[in-house]
Symmetry: C2
Subunit: 376 residues, 2 copies
């Protein structure tokens, strides 16, 4: 939690649940990534947090943007971004979204299959396209499954087909999974990309861009490797596989830029033991899985928690949200210990909740209004 957020919470005690984001911290994170990877252009993953204050700040810093939908492209344009600095990074796009993006001047599009390529050729003719490879997500705390990406063989065919369809076969992308905590996945993926570059060059196709995706981890409750470790591994791997003929490099950080710039302030609604054999103490908050903490599904992302009683004796707890839904439990297996003095009415903070919280929030499940947001 930054001093600015701590001060804001102390001074205003805003109604809970709410998300408070320090936009200066967003800027600092952008700069820190740019410093260690100066050769890579940063395309901020808008889906992590599309708040106008964040987009405007990043525009002022010269960031580019990775958009998941036509609506996100519109948010970027409204915040002052130029169309040529926006990548339409979702491999699954409605025809109407492609047409809108093309009309707005967006020139770069992701794809991973022939059907999408044909849609792009028709509705965004001549555009720069990049093919997403499927890579291992081992080491990621929020892996991306088999939903996206294609094989090396298939990507080769598709890039040749892109040229035949009058598109600009611009580059390749991969995504190692979100909150990726090892550098191995990047190194392995870059090696594959390098092979395909060489192979396609032999077939007369000169790709010019590698999109390294996002996935850079932030610290929740456990240490993660520093960003310079990732930068170093990526730079090494790129040099190893491309020599001095480095292609344009793109990174798409979301969580890394905004994650630790945000804090959720929440009220404890109830603390009780349920009278069951295990005697677990249950803590119920006024925010849960359907109020924005969707990444706690499967207890994947484990947020740090601050309470007014920190320093006192603690005991193991299960932590759940305020709805009548039995699935609205954040942590039941993960080892969470909270102060024994914690009680209904206390205000607590969920740390590093700037990414993937505000937009996952449900419109009104159980009647609860969406999370209020403060950008300071």
């Amino acid at each position: 939690m930054t001093p600015k957020i701590a001060h804001f919470l102390a001074e205003h005690a805003p109604a809970t649940p709410c998300l408070v984001v320090d936009v200066d911290r967003v800027e600092a994170r952008y700069r820190s990534l740019h410093d260690v990877l100066p050769l890579a252009r940063i395309y901020y993953a808008v889906k992590a947090n599309p708040a106008e204050a964040i987009l405007r700040r990043l525009v002022s810093l010269g960031s580019a943007f990775d958009a998941a939908s036509w609506e996100e492209i519109r948010m970027c344009l409204d915040a002052g971004a130029q169309a040529q600095d926006i990548s339409f990074g979702n491999t699954v796009k409605k025809v109407s979204a492609i047409a809108n993006a093309h009309a707005a001047g967006v020139t770069m599009y992701a794809f991973d299959c022939i059907e999408e390529l044909e849609k792009l050729a028709r509705h965004a003719p001549g555009s720069r396209v990049y093919c997403r490879l499927i890579v291992e997500n081992e080491g990621a705390e929020w892996p991306l499954s088999r939903k996206f990406g294609t094989t090396l063989d298939s990507a080769r065919d598709l890039m040749l087909r892109a040229r035949a369809l009058g598109l600009d076969p611009y580059g390749l992308s991969f995504h190692v999974g979100s909150q990726q905590t090892t550098t191995d996945a990047y190194e392995a993926a870059i090696a594959r990309v390098g092979m395909l570059f060489t192979d396609l060059a032999a077939a007369g196709l000169n790709l010019r861009m590698v999109n390294l995706g996002g996935g850079f981890p932030i610290r929740y409750r456990e240490d993660v490797p520093e960003i310079d470790r990732f930068a170093l591994a990526i730079s090494h791997a790129m040099t190893e596989h491309f020599g001095n003929d480095l292609p344009e490099m793109i990174v798409e950080p979301g969580r890394f830029i905004v994650g630790d710039a945000g804090v959720v302030s929440s009220e404890v609604v109830l603390v009780t033991r349920r009278g069951l054999k295990d005697d677990t103490r249950w803590v119920y908050l006024d925010i849960g899985r359907f109020g924005g903490l969707a990444e706690t599904e499967g207890e994947s992302i484990r947020y740090g928690i601050r309470t007014p009683h920190d320093g006192g004796a603690t005991g193991q707890v299960a932590i759940a949200g305020p709805t009548c839904d039995g699935a609205d439990i954040m942590y039941e297996k993960a080892p969470y210990a909270l102060p024994l003095d914690l009680a209904s009415g206390d205000r607590i903070e969920l740390l590093s909740t700037g990414a993937y919280v505000s937009t996952y929030c449900s419109t009104r499940f159980n009647g609860f209004a969406p999370l209020t947001e403060h950008y300071i």
Copy 2:
């Protein structure tokens, strides 16, 4: 899909994704439940779908309401419900919510622990309270876990304590889990409730109400027992355990009332094979887990699907949503076969999506606007 919905979709072809609900069907379902369980008062579980058109229709039919939050209570009052016909059924309530409900005239509250009881005694003094028992959820497709309810022993102590705190120890409740497909769970739970009634009567406490919860199943892709089977089992069990001295009976249906009154109309965004070994065909829709289909988590609720190509040759598919999130997959293991002719741009219908869809929808994940709703 009711003829009215089919007609509406054919005539208006509303922008997708959207939810269309036939309010006459809601009424028919309410009446059918009332017919088979005439002795039970129906408290509609507002969380299933709090649309004003639904609440107004149910008010006109004499329904009572089970609210999960102060906001849901407000929705019911705004739709014309009387405060005495509203139960505040969430066992986890903010103090401010209890105070608001009490001020608005709500007199019935759920609880399952001493801490909540003390909040009620203080902020809703004199109210009727009922204690929620933990029961087996076996047979439920959306079970409710260990988040709610307490043991028989603990409930006994709590009801005596309620009296000591100046509250009205009114009754007991349980919930067998949502989309409960067997009658056994109701029978077992009623037996336990009956025991506790007897036990507390011996201690000088005469409870007057049994809240049987909801959970009545609807047909998705597989047949479920008819509602009269549940009504019969419940009536038998109540008579067996209470004889002629039947307490007030409450049921809290949500899914049963609105589930099959709604249809989601969606556009197919992409159909492709990913070039992987298994050669699965992937179908991407413009609605997914974060656009309202949250109950597909773990592939629990399996909606029926209609396509324009029904009747033609089919093949196994995986079905995913439109976001960049790898978790946004509805069905990958469940056996779904869809027509081989299905293609990008087709409109399809997800059947029986009237319950637990509109409100789970995220505010704007990946930039996508919330599901549009039509009540006809």
